[in-house]
Structure formats: C-alpha cells, structure tokens
C-alpha cells in the first residue's frame, strides 16, 4: 500500500444551532482551515470527497450547493458519499492508492438543528418491518443497552461513568459545546427517558463541519491501517451485545496491539463497552480524549472528527491511535483507522 499521512485537520465549533453559516460557508471555512493546517493551498489538492446527507440538511443536492465553498470551477476531481465524512476520507485514501494524485481533501458537514435526526434515522430502517413502527435510534439503543444488562456485560453505573468522563473531557475541548458537569453518582439518580437509558446517555446533537487533508508526503501521522466492515442492517438479525464488524475491520486495519489512544464514535454511552470489547481493549487505554461523539454529535461529521482527534493524539505523543466511525442502526457499519507517527 502507498503510505498516506494526515497532513491537516480542522473542525468548526460544534454548535447546538448554527444560524449564521450556510453550507458553502461552512465548507469554505473548514476546508480553508484544514488546508492552512497542512500548509497547502487549494491548487495542491488532486482529489476531493465529501460526506453529507440531504435528509439531514432538508434540501436536495445540498452537497452540490456546498461545492461553492471549494472553488470548484473550472471543474475539480470530486466525489461524494451519502455517509459520514469518515467514509469520504476512506474514498480519498483509496484514490491516493491509484498513484496519480498526491494530496486529497475529505470533509463532512451537517446540521442537527434543521430537522429531526431521530426521524431521519427512523426512516433509514427497513421500510417494511421497522420504519413503519416509528422505532427511533433512542428506543433501539435502549433495547441494545437492556441486552447488555441482561447478559451481565455492563451495568447502568458503567453507562454513567462514560457520561462523566465524556463531559469532563468535552468541556476541555474548545470545539465541543459546554455541557453540565455530571458525576456518575448523580447521573444514576436522574430519570429514564427510554429505560435503561437516561437523557444524558444519548448524544448532544450539534451543527458543524470537519475536514482532513491527506498527503503521500510524511508531513503528519501515518495511516497505518484503514478498513470498514458492515453487519446485517436488521437489528433483529444480530447479537446486539457484540460487534463482529468492528472486530473484523480492526483486524483488517492491522490489529489493536500497542494502541494507547482510541477515539470512538459512540452515540450512546451504553455502546462504548461494545466497541472496546470488539477491539480487544479496555479502559486502560485513553478513551475519546476529545470528549467523543457523545458530547459533540454532528451528523455526517462525528466520525471524521474521530480520525482528526486521533491524528491530534499522535501529534501530541501517542504511539498508536485508533479512530472508529460508525453508520447505520446500532453500530451496523464500522470504520477503523489506525494512526502512527510518520
């Protein structure tokens, strides 16, 4: 494989509601910042790929509108995935393997504030058997959490501990929204919103954008391995307490031996244990030091941010950082990207 390096990363502040920036302005600002971080200009970019979703943005072809922010005239080599920007980065990585371009730009953008992410996620489910029931991501996550409790793999205190740590770390991350500090002990006294999950067990949904510049020059953390794998779409077809796709993707990305930092794309505190067990890791590694996707959950962006923060961890001295991105209901589709010093 051709070595690929993370040359630059930028994210806009994840805001509860961003009324000022439209899509082109979000994309312009975040891609300009990522290119500045990489010390590169737009003319250096040989391939660009974006991740976004029209159902989130509430308008058709929002990804095409957003291209205004790139300076895409005369035409540039550009592609789009209707997925989290982490998969845009994967396509950019594949494109760099072709060997004819040396710098690629991946970005994602999304706004939770325009509509209901829960309603969109509900419509992503099987259109015959599940979507008409109106079962959204929260009740599904609660079913999964209940399965964990029943199997003796987790306790509600474990969920609360994830919330305490995520909020503490998120409040040190200037791009994440401020959240009320919460001790695990206090969290456990709060009411259920979908038993056994409490309100704080779910994500803080935000608006924002992120961008990563990849280069074949060793100017930043090296992508030691990247792979993605998918489980059955129908949650009823799977054992919800485990994730085979995460384990498979991690093995294909080179395995988790020596990993000292992980950035995990978990939307519900109950899912963190599933991801760690699938990776063969425990909480002795540094888990989501950015605060993770629980406290700054921008749709189509949160996964790409995990890769960016893992790269930042390597820049800060980590020896082997693992980023995880997820898509689909209950950790259906998972991407693993492992980063090491160049």
């Amino acid at each position: 494989m051709r070595p690929v390096y993370v040359a630059g990363f930028a994210e806009l502040p994840h805001l509860l509601q961003d009324n000022l920036l439209d899509e082109p302005e979000m994309v312009q600002r975040v891609t300009a910042a990522a290119l500045a971080d990489a010390g590169l200009g737009r003319d250096d970019v040989g391939f660009t790929c974006s991740g976004s979703n029209d159902y989130v943005m509430g308008r058709p072809f929002s990804f095409a509108t957003a291209l205004d922010g790139l300076g895409a005239w005369p035409p540039i080599r550009e592609s789009h995935v209707e997925m989290d920007g982490a998969w845009a980065l994967y396509e950019a990585w594949v494109r760099l393997q072709h060997g004819d371009v040396d710098v690629a730009l991946a970005y994602g953008f999304g706004k939770s504030s325009l509509g209901s992410v829960e309603a969109v996620r509900t419509l992503e489910l099987d259109p015959y058997s599940l979507a008409p029931l109106g079962i959204g991501p929260l009740p599904l996550a609660a079913l999964q959490a209940r399965a964990l409790l029943d199997a003796g793999l987790a306790t509600e205190a474990d969920f609360a501990a994830v919330v305490e740590r995520s909020r503490r770390d998120g409040n040190r991350n200037h791009t994440a929204p401020m959240t009320e500090a919460m001790s695990a002990a206090h969290a456990l006294t709060l009411p259920y919103i979908s038993s056994p999950l409490r309100g704080h067990d779910g994500p803080v949904r935000t608006d924002g954008a992120a961008a990563i510049v990849l280069s074949t020059e060793p100017v930043g953390p090296r992508i030691a391995g990247i792979s993605h794998c998918i489980d059955a779409h129908q949650p009823g077809f799977r054992d919800l307490t485990v994730s085979r796709s995460i384990a498979t993707a991690a093995a294909a990305a080179g395995g988790t031996s020596g990993v000292d930092v992980v950035e995990l794309h978990v939307e519900y505190s109950s899912q963190e244990g599933i991801v760690l067990r699938a990776l063969g890791l425990d909480s002795s590694v540094s888990v989501s030091p950015s605060g993770g996707a629980l406290v700054a959950n921008t749709p189509m962006v949160a996964g790409l941010c995990r890769i960016g923060h893992a790269a930042n961890a390597v820049r800060g001295g980590a020896k082997r950082a693992l980023a995880h991105a997820t898509s689909g209901p209950l950790l259906q589709h998972n991407l693993i990207c492992i980063l090491e010093p160049a």
Partner: protein
Amino acid sequence: MSDDPVTRFKAPVRLDYTVTAGSVTADFLREILKGRLVGRRCPDCRCVYLPPRSACPTCGVITTEQIEVGPNGTVTTFSVIRFPFEGQVLEPPYACAHVLVDGTDTPLLHIVGNCDVDDMRMGMRVRAVWAEELKPTLASVRYFEPNGEPDVTYDSFSGHV
C-alpha cells in the same frame, strides 16, 4: 385473524424542517423588505452574485462585500410560457427570462410582464416591479418590465449568457 397474506399497507413518510437561510441570504431577504436588491462581491475575481452567494464558486473564498444592485437590468435570454399552471403571477403568455441586473455578473431567473411576448428581445432593458406588500422572498419582485431604454448590444452581455 385472517389468513389472507398481507399484500400492501400504507406507511406515510414525512420529515419536517425549519430551514435557516444563513446570514448571507438573511441579509439579502432583509434588504428585499426595504425594496432593495443586494448582491455579494468576490474579493478575488470581483464577480458580483445575485442572489448573493456566501462563497465564490470560482475562487473558493468567502464573499465579503454586499453591494446594492439594480433596479434595472438586461434580458440576456428568455423563453415564452404559453401554458397555465398553478401559482402563476402573470396570465400566459408571458416570458421567463434571464435578467442580468445592473451591477451583477450572474443572470437572475425571473419573469417579464407588461410586454407583448412577440416584442421580447435579447438585450432588452427592463426594471424590477415590486409587489405592494414586501415579504422576505424574491417573489417580492413581481416581475421585470421594459424600462424604455434602448436595447444594448449582444457583445455587452455575451460573457454572462
């Protein structure tokens, strides 16, 4: 319970949104409430966009300058609408036209009224006719109408067709 197989069922799908315009379009709509058209200028190529764009698609930079444009303009091309459909502002036949509003570089898709369709010409000079009650929408310009100025030559707008 019937043993008949289920062959069809209704599953209505609906998603609701509160779309925010963003500050650039919001400024444009606020000016429309004052009866003014404003575009945005790219600081690099100096191109003026109407409706305004937050970023220049050619240069990939934020458009920084808002400038008042119009109310006159030039028809760069047009098509005659002869069929009635719901929501029309004018009775057919009338012309749907690209109007290059004075001071801008991007033609605006709009309609032309107070003009016999047989008199429509590329290069015709027009002015904006505003609705009596202004709302935050481009439909507050009801249509453009001939302003009586002589036609301009094709060469003067050929770069904007």
